[in-house]
Symmetry: C2
Subunit: 250 residues, 2 copies
């Protein structure tokens, strides 16, 4: 059975405590296509400048061009692909050092504002942040394990690590009492992911990031706004350094 009619509202309120976090999500084909293409672009399996044929992608994915077209409109907004009218879509050119610096600046602006709005955290917010950090630690361990094997299959672990990292930051945005900050940060997040992908960094960065996140979490626990801001600033400065360290601006 595909759908849950859920006509009995009385029972719904009774279960509200259990399924408030899982709104049954019906997905059209275009959402799945979007996820697939996003994964492809973030993994770096396509060269910048390469053309992305609508019909070709539709054939490869086994769907018709219409949902692919919709997904491309969505991707166009992330900045990962560029569109030329009547000429199709192409993978966006790689980020230059200058653009990377701008990206980190813009992100810092949003993140520091989010911290100022989120601290002191509510009890619920603190729980979420702790959970996100714990997941980040686990993902970091998995990355280190997969990299020790070095069998070429480290991408899934890396992807999971990136998601956990972003989830930690996103938690702060979700509790900063300004929904637009979250929206803005999310619109920047694909570019941030791409930046990290282009500058393949080593295991040491993972440890540093985890340590800095831990410092942020400690400061957030105390409820000291300025201390948390300072830890976040330090973390973002680290991110900046590590990102710009090795960037072969093609």
């Amino acid at each position: 059975m595909t759908q849950t009619p859920d006509s009995s509202s009385t029972r719904a309120t009774a279960l509200r405590g259990r399924l408030d976090e899982a709104p049954i999500e019906r997905r059209a084909l275009r959402d799945g296509v979007y996820d697939k293409l996003l994964e492809l672009l973030l993994e770096g399996g396509v060269q910048p400048g390469q053309s992305l044929s609508i019909d070709g992608l539709a054939r490869d994915l086994g769907v018709s061009p219409t949902p692919v077209r919709e997904a491309m409109v969505q991707l166009e907004h992330t900045g990962l692909v560029t569109r030329a009218a009547l000429k199709g879509y192409r993978v966006a050119p790689p980020l230059t050092r200058e653009r990377m610096a701008e990206l980190v600046d813009a992100r810092s602006l949003l993140e520091l504002a989010a911290v100022r709005g989120a601290i002191p955290l509510t009890d619920n917010g603190l729980l979420h942040l702790k959970a996100a950090h714990a997941d980040h630690v686990v993902a970091a361990a998995e990355v280190k394990e997969s990299q020790s094997q070095d069998d070429g299959t480290e991408w899934p672990a890396l992807r999971r690590y990136y998601d956990a990292d972003w989830a930690f930051h996103r938690t702060l945005f979700e509790h900063c009492h300004n929904s637009y900050l979250l929206q803005l940060a999310q619109s920047l997040s694909p570019q941030v992911h791409r930046m990290r992908q282009s500058a393949g960094h080593g295991v040491t960065d993972v440890d540093l990031a985890v340590a800095e996140h831990a410092a942020i979490l400690r400061a957030a626990t105390t409820g000291d706004v300025e201390a948390t801001v300072e830890q976040m600033r330090s973390h973002l400065e680290g991110v900046r350094q590590r990102s710009l360290a090795d960037s072969a601006d093609a």
Copy 2:
């Protein structure tokens, strides 16, 4: 650079001075549909919550559903419409007072950062800002004239005024040496337009806005960063007051 055909570079450079501002823009149908729908939503000709039927809009616009669908994906990202899978699109609910305050806060964060990055302006930037301000003054006069007639046709003038107002602010973003700030501000701008539309304000606000813009321009001319920041802060505080003054949070 990837592939700039640019075969006739000699002639291109000869004409560079004349057509650098007018890149011939080929538009597909979906771009025109997007503009039409954006106009419709910003004008307020549709009630919040009203369903926007793909087929119906396609019939009304005299096109097929496919370009309408693409335009809706684009609109969905602006927050002016909401989408439920397998249920279609609806006009987004109106902004509550709280959301308006959040919006002004987020906008202020970006605008103040832009001023800090843009001042002191380059000669070119200063020229652009002056031109934008002059256009804003003209548009303001047109609004006052059209409102004195009060024949129900004030919308075109108001729309033009909004565009000129936003162009002034956008100029600062364009010269702040951070392309992502401009991108973020542009993603917020539809909501800002909608906010102004929902809170129908009078002629007096136009004069105030023009005066505050003039103050910003004067400070920017001197090249004093902090003075310009202060004028922008004052302006945005005025915007906040006027926006929240009359808001019938439905």
